[in-house]
Amino acid sequence: MEFGLSDDQKLLENSFRRFTEDKLPLERIRELANKKTGYDADIWNGLVELAATGVIIPEQYGGAGFKMLDAIVILESLGRTVTPVPFTGTAIMAPVALLTGGTEAQKEEWLPQIAAGEVKFGVGVTELISTRDSKGVTLSGDVLNGNAMFVIDGGPADMYLIAAGPDNMAIVPRNAPGVTVTQLTTIDYSRMHTEVKLENVKADLLGGKGKATEAIRKCIMAGRLALAADTWGAAEVMIYKAVDYAKERKQFERAIASYQAVKHMCAEMITELDPFRSLIWYAGHAYDEAPQETLINVLLAKSGIDEAAKFIKRTATEVHGGMGFTDLMGLHYWYKRVSVNRALLGTPEMLRNEAAIAQGWLAA
């Protein structure tokens, strides 16, 4: 028995940290953010070479056949460098949906392409979590109508998985007739989500009509977990950037890191952050090894790390003083990444409400 990363996972962690840190010095992060595409071919191809896009895809479909916890190790690294790639949609949510609910033919068609980096998926499930500007997509016969908001990673996607109610999910090519894709620009320019409008689009339904209930459920769960791991990585970096800056920056003839106020801000940040890594890990572990425990742990993990990151993004910026407010330090790229993660696939308040229902504390 051991709670923690295996030696293999530590190697994986090291190689991805090296890869993302090499690829994404601050100037490159800034440059790519300014493009607002949520994608970079060079990084994407590198990830494919490292077998990342197929991390949870079984070997029989051309993937690495690893577990969700391995994916989390990668996601932490991607968060650490606010990596502009459609990884959550393509390499986590789409494979989970396909593996859970796809027909054998659908798996054989799409999973090898994902693993090989030949296709990028955006995933539209927002309306199953909450409705604001859109009531989502409806299916009548085999035709889809409606619009899906905040399709995860929809910006650079070639293909979409769009939920139509809780039981159906359609595989929709971006260029299919009747599909209109509109980019939604959030404050985070490192990933691009979209609105997808469907007008009489003929549906290829995941697993057939009414067969996607479980696929959608797990796809949302995995997406939330991915965002939690991404936030964890980004938030940890913010803390250490603050600590390092405080050690360098002098005011009143002292490094500001020697002021108790600054020290305590840093102590509070790491305290809020650190335990959630274990909860995220456990939720990832449970995904494969103790499925019945996954849902509640994912809900608690994402809502918890979102709250911790809210505190950290502000406090780390304050430690940086005025410099934290400028683009010179670039801290805001991390700030914005965790801000948007918080709002996607369920705000903390919504997740906690769901957790009450999931535990039977409250009627659904």
Binding site: S130, M149, L184, Q251, F252, A261, T326
Partner: protein
């Protein structure tokens, strides 16, 4: 406690309401002040000054309305413009900081020359205090000036010079006596922004906009008579100004109108078919923030009363910046969090609410928490000056 709205004030309010009603078509939209005042703003400002609705207590001979301080009228003016959501005249660092400083520390010639065009929006000012290495520890600034031929020759770099790219003038702190202890060698100088040697570069912030600038100064020549107060006494002079700045930042009427805007969001937007206001969590947070805002509103009145009577309100004044900026951030947090994913959309995006101004506001609020004395500095001030707790003890010499 005497808050009686006697007949004089009721009349005043009625007149003001009638004025706003009749003239609001002439008013520019309430703005962020990120550009030089144009004719529209200047005309509106002139009208407001003529009626005593802005620059009320600035003496007539300098172009103001020349009224005696009257808290109730000040409050009525704030109230009514906020209520009507009508532009209440020019603000900014010239009117807010330089003018009070000149009134307190300037000589007659400087007052006559600068106050009138400043309050009429003809001269727009920026502030040159902070430097990249001198933030909280402002007095460690290194921009310096030597004197040659009746001029200061200024060299150095300033940061956070908001509006420097369209400002006409800058009031700047420079080290004129480098041999003196750090607080004693500083002078407060008014500098024409058209002087050769000034280069202004936009400073991009986390909001993506360039609300501020970096200003580089190379052999900038400024006549010696442009010093305010005595040479070497700039630190004292600047502290007058900083005091005014800190007073400006807790503005409760701005916060009150922000609560109104958030309320509209909560009443109009829905989540799962239910209005946001019916979701207890957001409503509860908004009202908790409203309580603090109302408290700040009356607290400000109390401070004004003290000011009028020349009393030192002690710690009560020192808390305002920390309280107000923290509260302001909480308000924009509430707006964003209630909006969920929609709250994360930014300028130009489809579905964005209020043009993304809540995100802008939220980031800028964090900037205000940091700017003009971080919360940590504020808490030092509150505990030391307000509660009489000991200053940071002197350190042993390190080698």
């Amino acid at each position: 406690m005497d808050l009686s709205y006697g007949p004089e004030y009721e009349d005043f309010r009625a007149e003001l309401r009638a004025f706003i009603e009749k003239n609001q078509h002439k008013a520019p939209p309430p703005g962020m002040g990120m550009k030089h005042p144009e004719a529209l703003e200047q005309d509106w400002q002139k009208l407001l000054i003529e009626h005593g609705y802005t620059c009320r207590t600035i003496p007539k001979k300098y172009g103001g309305y020349g009224a005696e301080p009257d808290i109730l009228k000040t409050v009525i003016i704030q109230d009514e413009f906020t209520r009507a959501n009508v532009n209440s005249g020019l603000s900014g660092q010239g009117i807010g900081m330089l003018v009070p400083t000149l009134l307190e520390n300037g000589n007659e010639q400087q007052r006559e020359k600068y106050i009138r065009p400043t309050i009429y929006g003809e001269i727009h000012w920026c502030q040159g205090y902070s430097e990249p290495g001198a933030g909280s520890d402002l007095a460690s600034l290194r921009t310096n000036a030597r004197v040659e031929d009746g001029h200061f020759i200024i060299n150095g770099q300033k940061i956070w010079t908001s509006g420097a790219h369209f400002a006409d003038m800058c009031f700047i702190l420079v080290r004129t006596e480098p041999e003196k202890p750090k607080h004693e060698g500083i002078s407060y100088i008014m500098m024409d922004m058209k002087t050769p040697g000034i280069e202004v570069r936009p400073l991009v912030t986390m909001t993506g906009a360039a609300e501020f600038n970096e200003t580089f100064l190379t052999d900038v020549k400024v006549p010696v008579e442009n010093v305010v107060g005595k040479r070497g006494e700039g630190w004292k002079v600047a502290n007058t100004t900083l005091k005014h700045e800190r007073g400006m930042l807790g503005d409760p009427s701005q916060l009150l109108s922000r609560i109104e805007s958030i309320l509209k969001i909560l009443q109009n937007e829905t989540l799962d078919g239910k209005r946001l206001i019916e979701h207890a969590m957001y409503r509860d947070r908004l009202i908790a923030a409203q309580a603090k805002t109302e408290a700040l509103k009356f607290h400000s009145l109390r401070l004004l009363s003290h000011t009028l009577k020349n009393e030192d309100p002690g710690v009560s004044r020192l808390i305002v910046k920390y309280y107000g900026t923290t509260l302001s951030r909480e308000l924009s947090d509430i707006a964003l969090e209630a909006l969920g994913e929609l709250g994360q959309l930014y300028m130009g995006s489809p579905h964005v609410r209020s043009h993304g101004s809540w995100q802008w506001r939220n980031m800028f609020d964090l900037g205000l928490i940091i700017g003009g004395g971080t919360s940590q500095i504020q808490k030092n001030i509150i505990s030391e000056r307000g509660l009489g707790m000991p200053r940071e003890p002197k350190l042993a010499e390190t080698k």
